[in-house]
Amino acid sequence: MTTTDAPEAAPPPTGKRRIGDVAFAGLARGSGLLILLILAGVAAFLVIQAWPSLTANTANFLASTEWDPNVREEPAFGVAALAFGTVLAAAIALLLATPVAIGIALFIVFYAPRRIASVLGYLVDLLAAIPSVVYGLWGIGFLAPELVPVYQAMVRYLGWIPLFSGPASTSARTMLTAGVVLAVMILPIITAMSRDVFQQTPQGHREAALAMGATRWEMIRLAVLPFGKSGVIGGAMLGLGRALGETMAVAMILSPALIVSWDLLQSGNQTIAAHIALQYPEATGYGVSALIAAGLVLFAITLIVNMAARYVVSRGSKES
């Protein structure tokens, strides 16, 4: 129906269809359908394997904070504390990363010397190339010890803010450290999305602003930021999706506890992904099934966030 606008829809040679054509087209189509099948399979197998523990669970799965599924009878477990920790860690990461990412994107597009701008962009992309387990190792082996005195100072001077109440953890294996590392990890993706939309700002808008005597910042505020808003929001939400599902940095850094706590400078809390990685090797009884149920919750959360992000981005690009 919409063949006219697609450039690739050039009519193939007419005449009867050759067997090679039919087979190749079938293969290509089959691959596309296979992807849909795999995605459906992910959801289906998770549900099938989570079901036994969910039906045997004696606690409220969504409201309980305990985790005691490794028994043959009467398992009791819930994801409330885990879901809270997941959202908290991702929120810290997002709050820290988004402003910096916007700054970097502006720097690369409008401030950096043209000749080296692409190299600088490549350097930011390199942040995404470092494996998460290396970030975890860096976080626990280098960053956390460095942050101990910083946290003590924060407790001393900012302790009156409820989030930063003491006593500060002596190992700095806390939610804030995990959030900082997550922020570094999602920085490249938010930067990349913001860069793309900033670059697409119509030349006319930018030059019109400058011609009216606007300074560079006024040009950015008047022409670039309003145009790029949806792209930046979409990028931030994709980053949020990454942060929600990130496992290793949290699993290696955080000193976990299944509690709901707002104290960012004390050890405690735990995320779904890290909990799965840490508990899986020791899971018995209903344990594995319960972890799969927790994974299903994570899958659902990230799915919603990612779909919303794509929606925001696509709506933004349609408007322009």
Binding site: T2, T3, E8, A10, P12, P13, R18, G20, D21, F24, A28, R29, S31, G32, L34, I35, L36, I38, L39, V42, I48, Q49, I102, G103, F107, Y111, L123, V124, L126, L127, A129, I130, P131, S132, V133, V134, L137, V184, L187, M212, A214, R216, W217, L222, L244, G245, T247, M248, M252, A273, A277, Y280, P281, I292, G295, L298, F299, T302, L303, R310
Partner: protein, 359 residues
């Protein structure tokens, strides 16, 4: 020039006409100011003998921002001052992002080099107790190569064929659905991909079965969407004229794709695939669940028993927690980063070698 009618924002101080008469700071003023701030702060810190690079950078930045904002506000007026302030902040953002990159690479290099040698790369952990001053990562390298290799063999045909379908064949609703779900698949958390294979394996082989193939399938779930996206972009770059020239000679569509479209985009496709490999080769979470984390011996068989690999090796050494274990973890991290960087640079070189063909 000095009409007073249009002024883009109300940020200015005084009347616009007044603004035009104001002076401006000399061109080299920011650089000079930055240098002198750095020197003065360094001097003060050294005098109190509390010099640290981070503290030095932070205080220099604060001093610079305060001075340039006030100086510019005095000489050039509020609007210019705001512009200079934002410029300083934007440069600062980039430098802040470089800190972790430099720090990660530097700490990994410094700590990893301690154990990183021919011995470490060529022996396994077979028969080595965790606290012994011996052992290496050969078995983990073998596992990483085998698992990533199998994941690539699964992902590339499916990914590239899907991209071909999206670019050359698909139209209408199914096309939109597949594009949408490939996007969704990009966002699957890696641990969920691992759980998926765990769930699948429990149904197929019963509980507790771990082997390399399971890890490879988990990685494929993460790799396929990346391959689809990059291949799709590359195939779209192939000029339509080439396809039409081929059709005009009576070449069937599938021969056109295999003989004209794919060779033209071969460089770009290879680059995309290598970047996808670099992306999944460091994945840890799904492999902890699927390949097991306690294998110590060399295992080339993807279908039999646990299989160690570099990311899981790093993780399990950290979990053991001794000094020797940390040394091994750092050295393995150095190995892993070198592999990833190598893939990245190869991808860049291949991309550059083949890129001009389409223009």
């Amino acid at each position: 020039m000095n009409t007073t009618t249009t002024q883009p924002s109300g940020a200015g101080t005084g009347s616009p006409a007044n603004e035009m008469r104001r002076g401006s700071l000399p061109n080299h003023f920011p650089a000079m100011l930055l240098a002198s701030c750095a020197a003065v702060v360094a001097g003060i810190l050294l005098a109190f003998s509390s010099f640290g690079f981070l503290l030095w950078g932070l205080l220099t930045a604060v001093a610079y921002v305060v001075i340039i904002a006030t100086a510019s506000a005095r000489v050039e007026g509020g609007r210019k001052a705001k512009d200079r302030l934002v410029t300083a902040v934007v440069y600062g953002c980039f430098l802040v992002a470089m800190l972790p990159l430099v720090s990660v690479l530097w700490t990994v290099l410094r700590n990893g080099i301690v154990r990183f040698d021919g011995y470490f790369l060529s022996v396994s952990m077979s028969g080595v107790l965790p606290s012994m001053d011996a052992g290496g990562v050969y078995h983990a390298i073998v596992g990483t190569l085998a698992i990533t290799g199998m994941a690539t063999l699964i992902s590339v045909p499916i990914g590239v064929m899907t991209a071909i379908y999206l670019v050359e064949y698909a139209e209408g609703r199914l096309k939109r659905i597949i594009i949408f779900f490939v996007d969704v698949m990009t966002g699957i958390p890696s641990i969920v991909a691992g759980l998926f294979v765990v769930a699948l394996w429990m149904i197929l082989f019963g509980p507790g079965e771990t082997n390399g193939a399971a890890g490879a399938i988990a990685l494929s779930v993460l790799m396929i969407p990346v391959v689809v996206r990059s291949s799709e972009e590359m195939l779209r770059l192939v000029p339509q004229d080439l396809r039409e020239a081929s059709y005009a000679l009576g070449v069937p569509k599938w021969r056109t794709i295999t003989r004209v479209v794919l060779p033209t985009s071969a460089g770009g496709l290879t680059t995309g695939i290598m970047l996808a490999i670099a992306r999944v080769i460091g994945e840890t979470a799904p492999l902890i669940l699927t390949t097991g984390s306690s294998a110590t011996a060399i295992n080339w068989n993807l279908f039999d028993g646990q299989m160690m690999n570099l990311p899981v090796f790093i993780y399990s050494q950290v979990r053991m927690g001794g000094a020797v274990n940390y040394e091994r973890a750092w050295a393995a991290a150095l190995t892993l980063i070198l592999v990833v960087m190598l893939l990245f640079f190869l991808a860049r070189i291949i991309g550059r070698m083949f890129a001009p063909k389409t223009r």
